[in-house]
């Protein structure tokens, strides 16, 4: 086919190359349907052609774990050393927040209590007040208060101690790597490529090799979290350092700074705001991942949620823990964002800040010291806690009774008329036809070389023997993306038309993005039980945000002069939207759709918990069976799908923008 494409520019050729490509693609799709006996191999990928990639990956990882040696030490020694190191490091925040320190085993042994809940709540409230005024203080107090009163404190503190260590490591490591890439331009390209790849790999794929190399437990959960949360910090650091005004660099040189002084006294402090934005991102990603990492034994709130999902009647408990995750996420997010906004001040205001910070520490330590004498300050007595477990169970059963028929009707409708036919169609689609389709689409966007690369990515799925699960993934993902876009576009449009709507949507999107993906599963399962519909709804909810944001932003960016030109040409409102604004905003909107796809792919893996049978399921199974080959190959397949979508849409947007001269 590539030869025909090349003829495109040759003079004298009558038939446009586009027609030939279209014809060939149509042939590749139709022929396997028309002549199943002769071309059966083109419809269903023959089992004897499957390349045992999973086995190779498995063998490679076994080789890593058993045989690889660096001379003085083996790979296994290295992973043991690293996990041991993190194990010890984790003991510190764990002792502080969750367990305290007990000397000896016998009852009555000397016990240093953990930080008192009263102290933590007081400090969080005061510091929130310092950072963001009364509103943030109320939020902090209510959030941590909820966690305490509803008996989620112990789990939440396990999670918080992991978050703290993971954030410290992620931020520190991210800044260090970012500085390195900034200082050594030769390294920069490699770092950027690695970051790009790491960000397309779904979260779960990190878990598989870690379980294999490090084993199940809090440490591998932590390591997975750090690996997941650190890349954005590297990126932010590189960008932040580049954005420091060149005059400041000149200033450093003119005052005779040595390189170390330039970095630490001039560049890093000047990049403070950008770096803090990175810290906020690391915190949110950490929280998201640490909940998922409960699957490999991270414990804490994630474990409670997971456990609830696994039990038949556990939903009430699960919701309680899920809300605690939400509370923790929102409070940490808003506090770290307020920190970005905080400007240096002098005089009375600065003294007030110092006083508030000091008061927070004083109360934290004071209450903790008091809890030597009053154990209730270390552990809130059970009779003072409220469990809404029953209440939530009641809510669940109320929902089941009152909403069930509606939800079930919707579910059945979706299944019978959309999901099942789509799935059957996609899984039964000829693999040759699909590859031809990808090739043709990519060819029209970027020529034959680009098309070949994209097709190779797609070919991984049949070649690795992942056809059925892969196509289930493609089908779930594409339906979710379509629905999310159909919901997001009108919402974004409304947001672009009114300030009030814009602010309301902004607040909603902020909250949706703060929630760890795992939490989405709970209400969804409550309504739609286990199955593809639940997964679909969870994915749509999770992935919808960028569709709203980018549409809103894209339409807002249409220059007023262009809108006036449309109106003066006599457009009706609808005409103006369809003929002027949407075409102008289209590249921006497509970037939003691209984000939707990425988020849908990552959520797909998480939602395999509620009973889909896609690549995510394979990763999940691989984790429980500790089969790293299967998990990795499924992870790679998802990553390839992501890269495929990203590059194709990227090409389209770039071409469109060039054409419009943007």
């Amino acid at each position: 086919m590539s030869e025909i494409a090349l003829q495109q520019s040759r003079p004298g050729l009558r038939v446009p190359a586009g027609w030939i490509v279209t014809g060939l693609v149509a042939l590749a799709i139709l022929v396997p349907y028309a002549a199943p006996e002769t071309f059966g191999w083109a419809k269903t990928y023959p089992a004897r052609w499957i390349v045992p990639i999973s086995d190779w990956l498995k063998a490679f990882l076994y080789w890593l774990a058993r045989d690889l040696s660096f001379g003085l030490f083996t790979f296994k020694d290295m992973t043991r050393f690293v996990s041991g190191l993190f194990g010890y490091a984790l003991d510190v925040p764990k002792a502080l927040f969750s367990s305290g320190i007990t000397f000896g085993d016998e009852p009555g042994a000397f016990h240093i209590p953990r930080l008192s809940w009263a102290g933590i709540i007081a400090a969080v409230t005061i510091w929130s007040y310092m950072l963001g005024g009364l509103r943030l203080a109320v939020l902090g107090f209510v959030g941590f208060g909820y966690i305490l009163v509803f008996g989620q404190w112990d789990s939440a503190m396990v999670t918080l101690s992991q978050v703290i260590l993971a954030v410290l490591t992620g931020v520190g490591g991210g800044i260090a790597l970012g500085i390195l890439a900034f200082r050594l331009p030769r390294l920069e390209g490699a770092v950027v490529a690695a970051l790009d790849f790491m960000q397309t790999i779904p979260t779960f794929a990190y878990l598989v090799p870690l379980v294999f190399l490090v084993g199940v437990g809090p440490v591998s959960g932590m390591l997975a979290t750090i690996l997941y949360a650190m890349p954005p910090m590297v990126r932010v650091t590189m960008m932040a350092l580049k954005r420091v005004p060149p005059e400041l660099d000149e200033l450093a040189r003119m005052t005779g700074c040595i390189p170390r002084q330039t970095l630490w006294k001039v560049l890093i402090p000047s990049a403070r705001d950008d770096l803090l934005v990175g810290v906020n991102q690391v915190i949110m990603l950490t929280l998201n991942m640490i909940i998922i990492a409960a699957m490999i034994g991270a414990g804490g709130l994630g474990f409670d949620v997971l456990n609830a999902l696994r039990q038949a009647n556990g939903l009430g408990k699960g919701l309680e823990a899920g809300l605690a995750v939400v509370a923790l996420a929102i409070v940490l997010d808003r506090m770290s964002r307020a920190m970005v906004e905080l400007r240096p001040v002098h005089g009375a205001e600065a003294r007030r800040r110092r006083y508030l910070v000091g008061a927070g520490f004083a109360l934290l330590i004071g209450f903790t010291l008091l809890s030597f004498a009053i154990p209730a300050l270390e552990q809130l007595p059970a009779e003072l806690r409220i469990s809404t477990g029953n209440m939530w169970s009641d809510v669940v059963s109320w929902v089941n009774i009152h909403l069930f028929s509606t939800a079930d009707a919707l579910r059945t409708f979706l299944l019978i008329y959309i999901l099942v036919p789509m799935k059957t169609f996609m899984v039964g689609f000829p693999w040759v036809g699909l590859l031809a389709l990808v090739w043709g689409g990519a060819w029209s966007l970027g020529g034959w070389r680009f098309a070949t690369g994209m097709t190779a990515l797609m070919a991984f799925i049949p070649v690795a023997g992942l056809w059925e699960r892969g196509m289930t993934t493609v089908y779930l993902c594409s339906i979710s993306v379509v629905i999310a876009t159909l919901i997001g576009l009108p919402l974004g449009f409304l947001g672009s038309r009114s300030e009030r709507m814009h602010n309301a949507l902004g607040a909603m999107c902020d909250t949706l993005q703060t929630l760890p993906s795992f939490v989405y599963l709970l209400p969804v399962v409550m309504l739609f039980r286990i199955g593809d519909v639940s997964a679909l709804v969870a994915i749509v909810l999770y992935a919808m945000v960028p569709a709203i944001r980018y549409t809103d932003h894209g339409l807002r960016r249409v220059p007023p002069s262009l809108q006036e030109a449309g109106t003066m040409a006599g457009c009706t409102g609808t005409q103006r939207l369809a003929k002027v604004e949407l075409p102008y905003a289209m590249p921006e909107i497509m970037l939003g759709v691209n984000q939707v796809i990425m988020m849908a792919l990552s959520m797909l893996v998480v939602s395999s918990f509620v009973g889909t049978n896609d690549l995510g399921k394979q990763i999940q199974v691989a984790i429980s069976q500790a089969d790293p080959g299967k998990g990795l190959s499924a992870g790679l397949a998802i990553a390839f799908l992501g890269i495929l979508a990203d590059r194709m849409i990227g090409r389209w947007v770039a071409a469109r923008r060039t054409r419009m001269g943007l």
């Binding site: 000149e250 200033l251 040189r253 005052t255 005779g256 700074c257 006294k265 403070r272 400007r343």
Partner: protein, 361 residues
């Protein structure tokens, strides 16, 4: 007889500059300085020591500074003036070696700057040089005091000492009240005062100012120019001052170098530039300036016929604007005398009026 140099400031006339003696020894010298951007620019210059613009363009290179030769004297305010893209910023960065010149030499106090090791350069910058930046380049996370003390901190001075010294400089620029403020709490003019104070904190002998007042409003700019002249009267630094504003150049500068496309077209006092422009480009700049504020009585006077009856006596160094009142108030032409009192010529009303009204020539 009013002397131009230390006359009291009158509303119509800019505050007098401290004119450096024109025989002061040179402090900073650059010779045949080139800055060419592009691949293998240094090899290209070695092979073509005197390339034409066409040669450079043909080689795919870009010359920001071409064959610049300057002698900046001890204690003078030397202005490098040109439009954006003329290479003035690159030239000053070559003089301070913020930008590595492609060819040529830079001497400061008989040391070749371009031969210095990084360590020597750091020492030189820490103790001998100060620089003020167009967009202030204040460190946002430090107070006024912290910013001004920064160069001293870099040198490793103990906290008390550097803060005491910084406070003195802050007083000097009139910001004593605001030592605890952060840059974002200050107005543009105040921010640049901090920038000036910081560059003076190390008591440099050589002071670079890169368009220091360009980012300020016209009124504030005027005020800051006066402030700058006041400081220079006290401190007598050797100054390299960059501007794109010819009015600023003639107000502040002892001598002015005009740059275009990387080449220094002419170096001279404001009066020399107005009276004998080297090219149409220079006269285009000088054309619109108020000649009365640039030209001296000695520069515009005509020879007097011996024995002619002359009115008031004016100094040859005085500006036309300064002597206008005296000349216009008299029926007879004024007698123009030099510093020794020797008659050099006469100045009549018509000439003064022509120079007062005439922006153009």
């Amino acid at each position: 007889m009013a002397m131009a140099s230390l006359a009291p400031v009158s509303p119509t006339v800019p505050p007098a500059k401290v004119r450096a003696a024109s025989d002061a020894p040179p402090a900073l010298i650059c010779r045949n300085l080139w800055k060419v951007y592009g691949a293998n620019a240094d090899a290209f210059l070695r092979e073509n020591p005197e390339p034409t613009p066409a040669d450079i363009h043909a080689a795919g290179l870009f010359a920001a500074v071409r064959d610049a030769t300057l002698e900046i004297r001890q204690g003078e305010i030397f202005i490098i003036m040109g439009l954006s893209g003329s290479g003035k910023s690159t030239l000053v960065r070559c003089l301070s070696r913020l930008v590595e010149p492609t060819a040529g030499s830079v001497f400061y106090e008989h040391q070749n700057l371009l031969r210095m090791t990084p360590g020597e350069l750091i020492q030189l910058r820490r103790h001998k040089m100060g620089m003020v930046f167009q967009n202030f380049a204040l460190l946002p996370h430090r107070t006024v005091l912290g910013n001004v003390a920064f160069p001293l901190e870099v040198q490793g001075l103990p906290k008390e000492e550097r803060e005491a010294r910084a406070r003195k400089v802050i007083e000097l620029v009139g910001l004593g009240e605001r030592a605890g403020h952060y840059p974002r709490e200050l107005s543009g003019g105040q921010q640049q005062r901090v920038g000036i104070a910081r560059s003076l904190a190390v008591e440099p002998a050589l002071w670079f100012l890169d368009e220091p007042f360009s980012a300020l409003d016209p009124l504030i700019r005027h005020e800051m120019q006066n402030e700058f002249l006041r400081l220079q009267r006290m401190l007598s630094k050797t100054i390299v001052f960059i501007t794109h504003d010819f009015d600023e150049a003639i107000r502040l500068g002892d001598r002015i170098a005009i740059m275009k496309d990387g080449v220094i077209i002419q170096v001279g006092t404001a009066e020399e530039l107005v009276l004998t422009p080297a090219s149409d480009y220079v006269s285009a700049f000088t054309g619109h300036v108020s000649r009365a504020k640039v030209l001296s009585a000695g520069g515009v006077c005509v020879p007097a016929v011996p024995g002619e009856a002359l009115g008031p006596v004016v100094a040859a160094r005085a500006l036309v604007a300064e002597v206008a009142e005296a000349v216009l108030g008299s029926e007879l032409p004024a007698a123009v005398v030099d510093a020794e009192g020797t008659l050099v010529g006469k100045l009549d009303r018509a000439t003064v009026i022509a120079n007062l009204v005439g922006g153009g020539q």
